[in-house]
Structures are given as structure tokens and as C-alpha cells.
């Protein structure tokens, strides 16, 4: 799978996957940036602007009214709900997270796609007295359609390219059903038996909190199809939308990063670095315009990640011997002195990068001491930790030799080297760094 696809797959899994089971969990941010999680008992209102719900805090219900931009994630579908459609949504999410996307033919076992598709078009009312249990509500359709798009996109990434087109068609459908002040229902071509369609009434839900995310998905799908211009335009459209103060900052950052990834794909490392540096710089500027601290934090973090990504790409260039190690070293040091002062992830990333560059330059002790906080901190991302474990193993040997030259005894450090690499292989066996540590 391409790296691009991997990232989106991870993001999708995070969106759809996680815990499938009882209760609908809401992750939201306070204005000051604190992120909290709470189970949702009932949603009062949910549109692109506002989100209102009754949540449970310490088991006790509390009303929550926040702008929708501060909803970090909200997974709908409850396996223990009374309502069948809510249960099925949860089933669909579970199937998605276990990779059962397509329907199994023999014996016929519905996959995530079929499950979501059915929910997307259901208008069942239920018998009198049984509405709570059997009635399909517009939000069921809304979320199911969103998840359906996700699923088809994923299926496309896994090889079934026809699913991209289906996903795009679903995007159009979502747009139509999300139109502002729509009628309660509209006519639509809904799937029928044996791959045919038929006209049927479908719910409209109007203003949807999910629409911007659907639009981002659209851009990703176009990118996955290789439709460069369309994809870039789509990304730009999302970015513009996301710049509005009421838009979620995560939408802005995801769009920026996705666009940068798309633009950088296939380019030489130095150019890739430029793309990410530009994205980072732009995001840094946009962070200042965020209406709240939460937004500032999210966008700044994304900006820093982009900058760090750029530096990593310079390191890869040095690995390919296209530049000297001084180039990425200087960039990492710049980041450490700048953004790294406030952003721990950048600090660690920069430190790991500095350590790697110093090792390549033959400097043992300084490299070792730069890498040590990264490997023992437990906070770095897996890839960065794997890299750091590889380099600290090398640095330990160099350090040991340096100690000998200083008149001391470096045996202890040299003996450490193998143990760091042993950690690397145990914890990240499939990483390229584990492969190098032989």
C-alpha cells in the first residue's frame, strides 16, 4: 500500500474503528484545548455549526453545548441500543474495523459496505408502539452514508478501483441530502436486487456536521484515482472552507497535510521537503487566526509536524547521499531551537533527527545523549522510536570508542549497543530500521 494510503487508512480506522461496542463516545475539546471523552446519552442538535447533547459525566447526565468545530470525534452506533438501526451501525463499524468490508458470498455474510448501504436508505417506521426499536431516523442514514463512503474508499485503496467511483457517487448523494433547508425526503436511486437500482424516497438531513469531512474524503478519493487537478481543487475547496472560523481546525490540518502528501508523492526528497515546509509555514500563519486556543493548538501542532516532516525528508535525502548530513542537521537544530521549544513532538523529532545526523557524522557522545531522551521517553511515534533505537545502537559503539580515547573505559557503552538493537527488533520487527540493525 502506498504511504498515502496507509496514512488515510490509519485515519479512517481512527474515525471508524477504535472501540466498537456499547455507548456512543464523544471526544471533544474545551476552548482552552483540553480534550475530553464522554459517553453520549442523547444528541439534541448536530449540524455544521452547533453540537448539543446530553453526555454522562461520572455516570450523571450533563448538557453539553459546543460549537461543532470542537467535536474531535463522535462515533455513532450502539451495539446495546434498543434501536435496531443504531445496533446495525455499530455492527457495520465493527465489520469495518475487522476488515470485513465486502459481503461474503458463501455463506452469505454481509460486510461493512452492505450493512451501511442498507442503513443509508432505510425509512422504516416500525409498528405503532415499536418505533423506538425499529424506526430509522435521518441521522442513521446520514452516518451510514458517511461510513459507506469511507468503506468504499477503503475498498478502492485495497484494489477494487470501481469502488472509488461508487464512493464519489455517494459523496454526491450526501451533498444532495445535506442541502440547506432541504425537504424531508427526496427521490433517489437506491440499490435494488442484483446490482440494479430503483427510485425511492430517502431522508434528507440538511445541515450536516459531517459534510466537510465528506468533502475531504472526496478530495482523497480523487487523489487516489490520480485525478491530480480535481484532487488539488477539491483539497483547496476544503481548505478554504476550513479556514472559516466555525470550521473544525482538524479539517484544516488534515486537508493541508493530505494535500501536501499528495503533492509531494513521487517528488525528489528536497522538493518534498519544500512542500512540507511551505505547508508548515502556512499552517503556522493560519494558527494565529484560529478563534480559540484549541484551534491554535491543533493547527500549530499540524504546522510543526509538517515542518518536522520536511526535515525528515532532508534526512532521507542525506541517506540517499543527495545532500550532506549537515543539511538535515541544521534544519533539525533550527526546529529544536524554534518550534521545538513549545511542541514536545517536534522537540523529540528534532532530537532524534539530530542524533541520527550526528551518528552519521561519527559523533558518539553527543549523538547518544541526543537520542537517549527519545528512546526512553515513550512519547515518540513508533517510526521515530524505531529510528532512534537504531541510531542509539550505533551511537553507543561510537561513544564507547570516544571514552577509550579520553583515557576511560568504553566497554559498558559498546555492550549496550546490541541491547538497543534487540529492543528494536522486539518492538518494531517489521520496521526498516530493524532490518538495518543486523
Amino acid at each position: 500500500m502506498r504511504r498515502f494510503g496507509t496514512c488515510t487508512a490509519v485515519a479512517l480506522a481512527a474515525l471508524l474503528g477504535g472501540v466498537a461496542g456499547a455507548q456512543e463516545m464523544l471526544e471533544y475539546a474545551e476552548a482552552d484545548g483540553t480534550v475530553k471523552t464522554a459517553p453520549v446519552d442523547r444528541v439534541n442538535k448536530e449540524d455544521e455549526k452547533d453540537f448539543s447533547a446530553r453526555i454522562l459525566v461520572g455516570g450523571r447526565p450533563r448538557r453539553l453545548d459546543i460549537p461543532s468545530r470542537r467535536v474531535v470525534s463522535f462515533r455513532r452506533g450502539d451495539a446495546d441500543a434498543e434501536n435496531q438501526w443504531s445496533k446495525r451501525l455499530a455492527t457495520g463499524r465493527r465489520l469495518f474495523s475487522t476488515g470485513q468490508l465486502a459481503t461474503q458470498a458463501t455463506p452469505p455474510v454481509p460486510g461493512a459496505e452492505e450493512t451501511f448501504e442498507k442503513i443509508s436508505y432505510s425509512m422504516e417506521k416500525g409498528l405503532p408502539g415499536e418505533e423506538a426499536e425499529y424506526q430509522a431516523l435521518p441521522w442513521h442514514n446520514e452516518y451510514a452514508l458517511f461510513y459507506l463512503i469511507e468503506t468504499r474508499y477503503q475498498m478502492g485503496l485495497q484494489g477494487d478501483k470501481t469502488k472509488f467511483a461508487q464512493a464519489l457517487a455517494s459523496v454526491e448523494e450526501f451533498r444532495a441530502r445535506s442541502a440547506k433547508k432541504p425537504p424531508a425526503t427526496i427521490d433517489w436511486d437506491v440499490p435494488a436486487e442484483k446490482g440494479t437500482t430503483r427510485k425511492a424516497k430517502v431522508y434528507c438531513w440538511g445541515d450536516s456536521r459531517l459534510l466537510p469531512h465528506v468533502l475531504l474524503l472526496e478530495a482523497r478519493i480523487l487523489a487516489a484515482q490520480g485525478e491530480k487537478d480535481k484532487a488539488l481543487a477539491a483539497f483547496d475547496a476544503v481548505i478554504e472552507r476550513a479556514k472559516k472560523p466555525e470550521s473544525p481546525p482538524t479539517l484544516l490540518t488534515e486537508a493541508f497535510v493530505a494535500k501536501a502528501e499528495f503533492e509531494a508523492a513521487g517528488q525528489p526528497s528536497e522538493q518534498q521537503e519544500g512542500i512540507f515546509r511551505a505547508a508548515g509555514s502556512t499552517l503556522s500563519g493560519l494558527a494565529r487566526t484560529q478563534p480559540d486556543e484549541y484551534g491554535k493548538q491543533v493547527v500549530t501542532r499540524a504546522a510543526n509536524r509538517s515542518l518536522l516532516r520536511g526535515a525528515d525528508l532532508l534526512r532521507e535525502s542525506a541517506e540517499q547521499q543527495k545532500v550532506t548530513w549537515d543539511t538535515p542537521l541544521a534544519r533539525y537544530q533550527q526546529l529544536q531551537a524554534g518550534e521545538g521549544q513549545k511542541d514536545p513532538a517536534v522537540r523529540l523529532g528534532a532530537q532524534a533527527g539530530i542524533g541520527a545526523c550526528l551518528v552519521e557524522k561519527g559523533q558518539g557522545e553527543t549523538a547518544y545523549k541526543a537520542l537517549l531522551p527519545v528512546v526512553v521517553g515513550g512519547e515518540a511515534e513508533p517510526e521515530r522510536t524505531a529510528l532512534s533505537l537504531y541510531y542509539i545502537g550505533r551511537a553507543a559503539k561510537l561513544f564507547g570508542d570516544e571514552i577509550d580515547r579520553q583515557g576511560g573505559k568504553g566497554d559498558m557503552l559498546r555492550a549496550e549497543s546490541e541491547r538497543w538493537w534487540s529492543d528494536l527488533k522486539a518492538r518494531y520487527p517489521t520496521s526498516r530500521w530493524a532490518e538495518k540493525a543486523k
Binding site: G21, T37, V109, D423
Partner: protein
């Protein structure tokens, strides 16, 4: 008695009934008592008998024991495999034990086909042998090896199983015949044995079936097993064995499902297991059915998961079956009330967790697997702990929802992995735990301790820079806190972290030998001392300093330092216990009585303070209890040293009744009690206390001291008593104590042995006294040797006189020896001593009847030592019936009584005890005169009669009162007889 031993006992008893020989019965009894080696010897002997039946019985008996041993070895081997430790016995040893026993038992059964027990034993052995050959009950982690064992040994195992089934069937046939017509009675051992045999036959059929992979043999044998099990179940549905059969039916159907893809069979299996755990029967012969229930749940979950996944030949997964697995956890808890020790219940829960994980219900999977992990860790079930950890490890990586990642569970997993030696994974989980600990509470409970664990792991792995780095973070956070408190939980964690960092830097500095590393070590060390003075490592230094002071004799300073050790120190209580001892030592060393007394007072105060401190401590803390005891003891010691005897006695009595063994002062506790009793003139109580002390305290200075003290008191006491039984008894007790005391002494001198001799003599233990005197004589200087030897001789003389089991003739012989001893001592063959020469002359003169000594001679005789008088007695009694020796004695005695007046004059005190002897002598003289007068009718005889008559009258007139009316009568009678014979 173990079940195995009972079985051997019964079997050997069976043989004994059939072939009764003394040896066999004896071997039976020995085996029943667990003395198998001895039983083997007996059976070995029996085997070598010329009687073929006896020889066979011996062989069989040995084989029965060997089979028991094989089973024990197998159990040990499998347990070690399960624990993951090198097995204490080898697989070959186990197989050899089975292989050795098998032919012997087969031979016996062939010759004794009617012996049901033997046949049953054989069948069981064959089945066990086959099962072990093919790796049954090997742990799951060795599944690959087990498969290989099956492949390598299936042919042989097949034969063994077939043979086992055949023998079981034969047992069933014979027993059924025997029990025909009787109602089944679960409590009847015969019925139990029949049921057991029937079940085992079916179970062996199952094992046989499982031996073979998919194919005709498996098909055939599995169907045969099902048939047997069905038949058994039909008859024994309500019994526990029925439950076993149901379980086995489930297992065989399970295997048919997996191997042959028979989905129906798998579903049948699931149904059997479900049926099993809903209705495990109440079997009156079995108390605990939780194992069966646990197995039922486990297999049910297994079957459901297998169907859900489409395991083996089942092919297509049917995820809906996972829903059935999910129900297991709740039902299991309901049925077993979650018995966390039941390994099957835990395994069942792991199946449930696996099902949850397969369905991406990660929160539930993590919760259940975490529960299993916690239970397995607390109950020491290592394999299950490893399985739970293995299941959890990848799950954690998949979980995106922070709410599922309970920081405590992650920490627990880190602990489990650390205990399993999986350092890298342990660190990873501790890191996750730290990352998940986002609340203040979690940071304190899990976050910081997690960092300390990580540091520890690195240090264990000798990555000291890493250890110092991680530990340093905890310390940095602690030091930043303006309100930091060493005694808080966080303070404790930070202290441990700082100590770890210190140790890590020490190792770095020692390893690299770089000045900058040494500087960093010192910085961390100083920080540790400054921030965490109460840490055990730090207070260890204060404690060490106090001990140095003690070693230098600076007791007062040491006491102060010890008292200041903070309560948080691990040495706190030990330090407090040492304080009274410091003051007591000062008291003992102090020469000035007044100052010494002051130190004793201080000791008492310190002891009372220690008791008060202990009263505030935790009642269940052994350190607190020990401190209380020390305080009580030093209190009693101090009171004794201060001479406050009644208080000391009360205190020590309370102490001795409160505290059992061992005595912490090796008996000094009793010394206090004994000294108090002696001081209060309570001699019997002191004796009783000494007796108690000698039972409880080990030999040592306290027992020696106490023994001598009581002895001395007894000795002085009985000296003041009149002669009589009480004096003798007291002397006896004193002697016993002194003997005991002397046994503890090295190099006992002659004087102590002499003292012992004296006491023994006073106690009328003549033989022991003689021994003691002789021992003393052997060690004494020359001038005392004679006296000691004579004392020994006197004791022996007394012994000879009081001996009741010696004939009169032997007594004479004993006395002769003693007499010779005296003679040798008193009158050596060629005396150089002038006095001794003189004595010899006198004796010779006396021995000569023609001679009559002069007054001067008699004066010398009068001055002779007491031993001479004793010698005279001895001579009198030890000489043979002839006249010579006796005459000498008579002469000696009569001389003495003629020329001495028995009165208590100074210098003649030693004659007092001879008053009766003197009168004996006088009476003897008269009798001699009479004897000579009666021996004939000549002039000489008449002359002796006249002399005798004159002597008798002289006695009446000139001598003091006779020593009793009997003597008066005797002398009067003799006088009358002499008068008739004397010349008119």
C-alpha cells in the same frame, strides 16, 4: 497417606490375601507407611524365592511400586514443563519406569487372570504409558513438540491403548458378573471401581481415537469412542463420571469437527459442553466439581470460537458463534462465583477475550484478558499469565480509544512482562501506562511508578545512562514542587527514582572512569542525600555510623544516633531495639557503683520507652512485636541489676509467660528469674526455674551462671541441715546441678571434682562420689592426692556396704580391693616417708600377737589419720575367716579403745564417729575372749575366760555409758557366759 500409597497398599494387601507370606505382609505395611525403599528390599528378597508364586508376587509388588513411582515422576516432569523450568526428571526416566513395570505386571495378570485389581492396575499403566509417550498434558506452548511425539510414537501408543481398553473391558465384564443383581450404590467401592473401569475404557478409546490424524483410523476409532461414551453416559448420566463422559463426547466431537470439517459434530460438541456446565451432577463421592465445570466452559468457548473462525477443516468462519462465546464469561461467573484459582475458568475467559478481540470489541477483550492476567499473577499460574500477556500485547497496539487503555492495566501488563523477563515489551507497556496516566491521580498511582519501573528495567539490563535519564525525570518533577514532601507517596516514588539514578551514575562512573561522570554521580548523590534524608539507603548511612560508634565503644553517642533514626527508615525498629543495650553496656562497664546504677536507671527508662513506642506501632508488624519484647526484657534485666527483686520477678514472669521460644537472650531471661528467687530466698522456685531454663535455653554462659548459682545456694543450705533424708535429697539435687554444670565446663580442675565428690558423697551416691574423687586425685597436686584417694576409697567402701545386689563373698572381695588401695596409699611397699615408715612399724608390731606395743606406740597410733580407723574397719570386714587379718583388726581397734577415751575433745573429734565402732570393738573383744575360752577346757582357755571377765567388769566400771540398751544386754550376756568359764 497419598492416594498412590493407598493404592499400592491395597494392591499389595490383595497379594497378601492371596499369597500370604510374612515378607509380603511386611512389605505391604512398609509401602503403606511410605517406606518404599524398604518395601522394595523385602519384595526383592521375595522375588528371589524358590516358590514361583512368591517370586511372582514379589515381582508384581515391585512393579506396582514402580508404577506408582512412574506416575509421580510423570507428574513432576509435566509440572516442571508447565512452569517453564528445567525438569527434575528426564522424559527417558519416566518412560523407563513405565517400561520396567509393564512386563512384570503383565506377567502377573497372565498368571492371575482373576485378580481384578492387578488387571485394573495394568490397564491404567498401559493408558498412562501411552499418553505420556504421545505428550498428553504437555503445555500449550509445546504444541509442536507434542505433535512430533504423536507422530513418532503413535504406532506403539496405539497398541498400548488397545491393550488397555481390552483389560478395562475384561475388568468390567468380571465385576459386572460379581455385582449382578445388586442395586447401584455410589458409595460402594466395588461399584465405584466398576464405574471407573467402564469410564476408563471409554476414555482410553477416546485417547486412541485422538492419536490419529484425519483418516480411516481416526474415523473408525472416533466412532468407536463415541459409541462407548454414549453407552456409558446412558448408564451414568447422573454421576460425576457421567459428566466426564459428556466432556469426552464433546472433545471427540470437537476433534471430528476440526479434523474432518464436520460442522454438525462441532455444534454437537458445543451443545455437550453447554449441557455440561448447566448441569454438573451432584456426586456424593466428590466434593469439588469446579474443575469439571471450568473445563466445560473452556471447551464450550473453544468450540464456539472454532466455529466462528472456521478452524481446521471447518473452513468457512461463522462469526455469529462468537456471540455464544461472549455469554461464557457471565455464565462462568455465575456458576463458579469466579473462582480465580481455577485454571480452567481462566482459560475459558481467555477464549472469551480472544473472541472479543476477533470481533474488535477491544475494550471487552482487554478487560477480560486483564482480569485473567491479574488472577494468574496473584495465584502464580505462570503459563496462563503468559498466555494472557501474549493475547493482550497486540490488542493494546490496536486500541485507539484512550478510554480503553486503563493505565493500571497497562502497568499490570508491564509487571507481568517484567516478571517473565521480557524486558523490551515490559518497557513498552510501562511507557504506555505512563502515557495513559493523564490525570493527577493516575500520574501518582501509575505514571511516576511506571517511570521508576522503566528505570529499573534499564538498570537491570545494564543500560545505566537510560536508567538515569528516566529516573531523573521523576526527580526533576518532584524537585520542582515547592510543597514537596518526602513522606508522601510521590515523595517515596521520587526517592526510589533518585536512588536508582544515583546507583546508575555510580556504575557509569565506575565503568567509564571519566571525571565528568564521577562529577555527575556526586551531584546526584548529594541531591539524594539532601532531598531524601529519610530514604532507607540514606538512613542506612546513619545506622552504619551508629554501628561504627558501637564498635569503638562509644555507647552513649551511638544510643543517641540510633534513637534519632527516622521512622521511615527500614532500620528504625532495629535501631530502637539497640538503644537499651547501649546503656546497659555502659552500666556493666562502669566500675563506680553509683554511676553504674545511674546507667541501669537509664537502661530501664530506655526499655520502657521502647515498649511505649511499640505500643503505638502496627500490631501485625513483626518488627514492632520484636521491639516490644526487647523492651520488656531489658526492663526486667534493669530491675534485676538495680536489685529491685520483687519488680524484676514480676516483670520476668510476665515476660516468660508472654513470649515463647526462642529466647532472644539465650536464657538470660531465666537468669533474672533465678537471681530474683535466690535473692528472695525462694530456693525451690529457683530450682524449678533452673529446670525450666535448662529445657528451653541452649547451653551457654547464662545456663552455667544460673546452674552454679542454684548449686551454691543448695550446697550452703543443706550443709546446715542435720543428717537425714532431707539433707541427702538436697545434696542429691545439688549434685545433679553441679554435674550438669561441670559438663558445660572445659578443663574442670581437681578442686571442682573434689567438690563434686563431696556433694555426691553427701547425697550417698557412693559410686559416683568415688569416681569423682578418683578423677580429682588424678589431677591434684601431690600433697592432696592421698587424701583424695582415701576419700575415693571411703566412698567405695560405703558403696560396698550398701550394695544390695552383691553377695557377701563379693563384698568381701570388693573390700579387699579397697583395703589394698588403702594399704598402698598409706603404706607403700618401700616407704621413704619417715612417718609412713613409722606407721608400717606400728602395724607390723600390732600384727605380731607376741608383741605388745608400748604406750609410745599407742600415742603414735592415736595420732594416725582417720583413714587408719577406716582401714581397721576394712580389715575387720575384709579379711577371710581366718584369724590373722581379723586379729590384726581386733588388735587395732581394741588398742584404740583401750587407750583412748571417746570424748569430744579437740583433735579427737574424728574419734566421735567411732563410738559405736569402739563399742563394737569392745563387744568383739569380749566375744573373742569367749570364743577362745569356749574353744577348749585347758588352762589357757580358762585364763582367757578370766581375762575376758575382768575386761567386761572394767567396761562397766571405767568406761562411759554404753551406746544403747542392746549393747548393755549384749555385754551383760557375754559377762555371764565368761563367768561360768572363768576360774572360780
Amino acid at each position: 497417606m497419598t492416594l498412590r500409597r493407598i493404592a499400592v497398599f491395597l494392591l499389595l494387601a490383595q497379594i497378601a490375601r492371596a499369597d500370604t507370606t510374612e515378607d509380603l505382609e511386611f512389605a505391604t505395611r512398609l509401602a503403606g507407611r511410605g517406606l518404599e525403599e524398604m518395601a522394595f528390599e523385602i519384595l526383592d528378597k521375595l522375588e528371589k524365592s524358590s516358590d514361583p508364586n512368591a517370586a511372582r508376587a514379589g515381582r508384581y509388588g515391585k512393579a506396582a511400586l514402580q508404577r506408582g513411582q512412574a506416575t509421580a515422576k510423570r507428574t513432576r516432569y509435566l509440572r516442571d514443563l508447565e512452569e517453564g523450568i528445567p525438569p527434575r526428571v528426564t522424559r527417558e526416566e519416566v518412560l523407563a519406569a513405565y517400561a520396567d513395570a509393564k512386563p512384570k505386571i503383565e506377567d502377573f495378570v497372565a498368571n492371575r487372570p482373576d485378580n481384578i485389581d492387578a488387571r485394573f492396575l495394568l490397564a491404567a499403566l498401559l493408558q498412562e504409558y501411552a499418553e505420556f509417550l504421545t505428550g498428553k498434558d504437555y503445555p500449550e506452548s509445546m504444541a509442536a513438540q507434542r505433535e512430533q511425539l504423536v507422530t513418532d510414537n503413535s504406532a506403539e501408543a496405539d497398541k498400548l491403548f488397545q491393550a488397555a481398553i481390552g483389560h478395562y473391558d475384561e475388568v468390567v465384564k468380571r465385576m459386572s458378573t460379581a455385582l449382578q443383581g445388586k442395586d447401584p450404590d455410589l458409595t460402594d467401592p466395588s461399584y465405584q471401581q466398576l464405574t471407573q473401569a467402564q469410564y476408563q475404557a471409554a476414555n482410553a478409546a477416546l485417547r486412541l481415537a485422538l492419536l490419529h490424524p484425519k483418516g480411516p483410523k481416526f474415523n473408525f476409532n472416533s466412532e468407536a469412542a463415541i459409541e462407548k461414551l454414549d453407552a456409558f453416559l446412558g448408564e451414568h448420566f447422573e454421576e460425576l463420571h457421567g459428566a466426564f463422559a459428556m466432556r469426552d463426547l464433546g472433545v471427540i466431537n470437537f476433534e471430528r469437527g476440526v479434523r474432518l470439517g464436520q460442522r454438525d459434530d462441532m455444534e454437537t460438541a458445543a451443545n455437550y459442553f453447554k449441557e455440561l456446565f448447566t448441569r454438573v451432577p451432584e456426586d456424593p463421592t466428590v466434593k469439588d466439581t469446579s474443575d469439571v465445570i471450568g473445563q466445560a466452559f473452556y471447551w464450550y468457548a473453544r468450540a464456539c470460537n472454532a466455529l466462528a473462525r472456521g478452524e481446521g477443516a471447518l473452513g468457512k468462519p461463522q462469526p455469529a458463534w462468537f456471540d455464544s462465546t461472549f455469554t461464557v464469561a457471565a455464565q462462568l461467573r455465575e456458576k463458579l462465583k469466579i473462582d480465580s484459582k481455577n485454571p480452567w475458568a481462566l482459560k475459558a475467559l481467555l477464549q472469551v477475550a480472544d473472541a472479543y478481540a476477533a470481533q474488535n470489541r477491544l475494550k471487552d477483550a482487554v478487560a477480560v484478558a486483564g482480569e485473567v492476567l491479574a488472577s494468574a499473577r496473584t495465584t502464580g499460574q505462570r503459563q496462563i499469565g503468559r498466555d494472557a500477556t501474549d493475547l493482550l500485547t497486540p490488542l493494546v497496539g490496536r486500541v485507539a480509544d484512550a478510554g480503553v487503555l486503563d493505565a493500571s492495566l497497562l502497568f499490570e501488563m508491564g509487571e507481568a512482562l517484567s516478571a517473565q523477563g521480557r524486558t523490551a515489551n515490559a518497557i513498552a507497556f510501562y511507557e504506555k501506562a505512563v502515557a495513559s496516566a493523564t490525570t493527577d491521580e493516575d500520574r501518582l498511582k501509575v505514571g511516576y511508578p511506571g517511570l521508576v519501573r522503566i528505570a529499573r528495567e534499564y538498570r537491570k539490563d545494564r543500560r545505566n545512562f537510560a536508567a538515569a535519564e528516566v529516573a531523573g525525570r521523576v526527580v526533576a518533577d518532584y524537585v520542582k514542587d515547592a510543597d514537596r514532601n518526602e513522606l508522601s507517596d510521590f515523595g517515596g516514588t521520587a526517592a526510589d527514582a533518585c536512588n536508582l539514578a544515583r546507583l546508575a551514575w555510580k556504575e557509569i562512573a565506575d565503568a567509564t572512569k571519566r571525571p565528568q561522570d564521577d562529577t555527575e554521580y556526586k551531584r546526584v548523590r548529594d541531591l539524594f542525600v539532601k532531598e531524601f534524608p529519610g530514604h532507607p539507603e540514606n538512613s542506612d548511612q546513619a545506622f552504619a555510623a551508629a554501628r561504627e560508634m558501637l564498635a569503638k565503644g562509644q555507647y552513649d553517642e551511638a544510643a543517641g544516633k540510633l534513637a534519632d533514626i527516622p521512622t521511615s527508615s527500614r532500620n528504625y525498629w532495629q535501631a530502637q531495639r539497640m538503644v537499651p543495650g547501649c546503656y546497659r553496656q555502659l552500666a556493666i562497664d562502669e566500675k563506680d557503683p553509683a554511676k553504674s546504677k545511674a546507667w541501669h536507671e537509664k537502661t530501664l527508662a530506655a526499655a520502657q520507652n521502647l515498649v511505649a513506642l511499640a505500643a503505638k506501632g502496627a500490631a501485625d508488624d513483626p518488627q514492632v512485636a520484636s521491639s516490644r519484647q526487647t523492651g520488656d526484657l531489658f526492663g526486667a534485666l534493669s530491675l534485676a541489676s538495680l536489685g529491685r527483686w520483687p519488680e524484676a520477678l514480676a516483670a520476668i514472669d510476665a515476660y516468660l509467660s508472654r513470649y515463647g521460644d526462642p529466647l532472644i537472650q539465650r536464657g538470660a531471661e531465666f537468669v533474672v528469674k533465678i537471681d530474683a528467687h535466690l535473692a528472695l530466698k525462694q530456693l525451690p522456685e529457683a530450682e524449678a526455674a533452673l529446670a525450666a531454663m535448662l529445657k528451653r535455653a541452649p547451653p551457654g554462659p547464662p545456663t552455667r551462671y544460673a546452674s552454679y548459682g542454684v548449686f551454691k545456694a543448695l550446697f550452703e543450705a543443706y550443709q546446715k541441715l542435720e543428717a537425714g533424708p532431707e539433707r541427702v535429697s538436697m545434696a542429691g539435687r545439688a549434685a545433679a546441678i553441679l554435674e550438669g554444670w561441670l559438663e558445660t565446663q572445659k578443663d574442670v580442675g581437681w578442686d571442682l571434682r573434689y567438690r563434686l565428690g563431696q556433694v555426691l558423697f553427701d547425697a550417698q551416691r557412693w559410686g559416683d562420689a568415688a569416681e569423682a574423687f578418683e578423677a580429682a586425685a588424678g589431677l591434684a597436686p601431690d600433697d592432696r592426692r592421698q587424701q583424695l584417694t582415701l576419700s575415693a576409697a571411703e566412698a567405695k567402701y560405703q558403696q560396698s556396704q550398701t550394695a544390695t545386689d552383691v553377695s557377701a563373698q563379693d563384698k568381701v572381695v570388693m573390700l579387699a580391693k579397697v583395703r589394698d588401695l588403702f594399704t598402698d596409699v598409706l603404706i607403700p611397699p618401700d616407704p621413704k616417708d619417715p612417718e609412713k615408715k613409722e606407721q608400717l612399724k606400728v602395724l607390723h608390731a600390732l600384727a605380731n600377737p607376741a608383741g605388745y606395743p608400748t604406750r609410745e606406740t599407742f600415742d603414735r597410733v592415736k595420732k594416725m589419720p582417720r583413714a587408719i580407723y577406716v582401714a581397721a574397719q576394712i580389715y575387720a570386714k575384709s579379711s577371710p575367716a581366718g584369724i590373722d587379718g581379723r586379729y590384726l583388726a581386733i588388735r587395732l581397734i581394741t588398742l584404740l579403745h583401750e587407750f583412748t577415751i571417746p570424748s569430744p575433745q579437740p583433735g579427737k573429734a574424728h574419734l566421735d564417729e567411732f563410738i559405736p565402732i569402739w563399742w563394737d570393738g569392745a563387744e568383739l573383744k569380749l566375744r573373742t575372749y569367749l570364743a577362745i575360752a569356749q574353744s577348749g577346757t585347758g588352762a589357757k582357755e580358762k585364763e582367757q575366760a578370766g581375762l575376758g571377765l575382768g575386761y567386761a567388769r572394767k567396761l562397766s566400771y571405767e568406761n562411759p555409758k554404753m551406746d544403747g540398751p542392746q549393747r548393755v544386754a549384749a555385754v551383760a550376756a557375754l559377762e555371764a557366759q565368761l563367768k561360768t568359764l572363768a576360774p572360780k
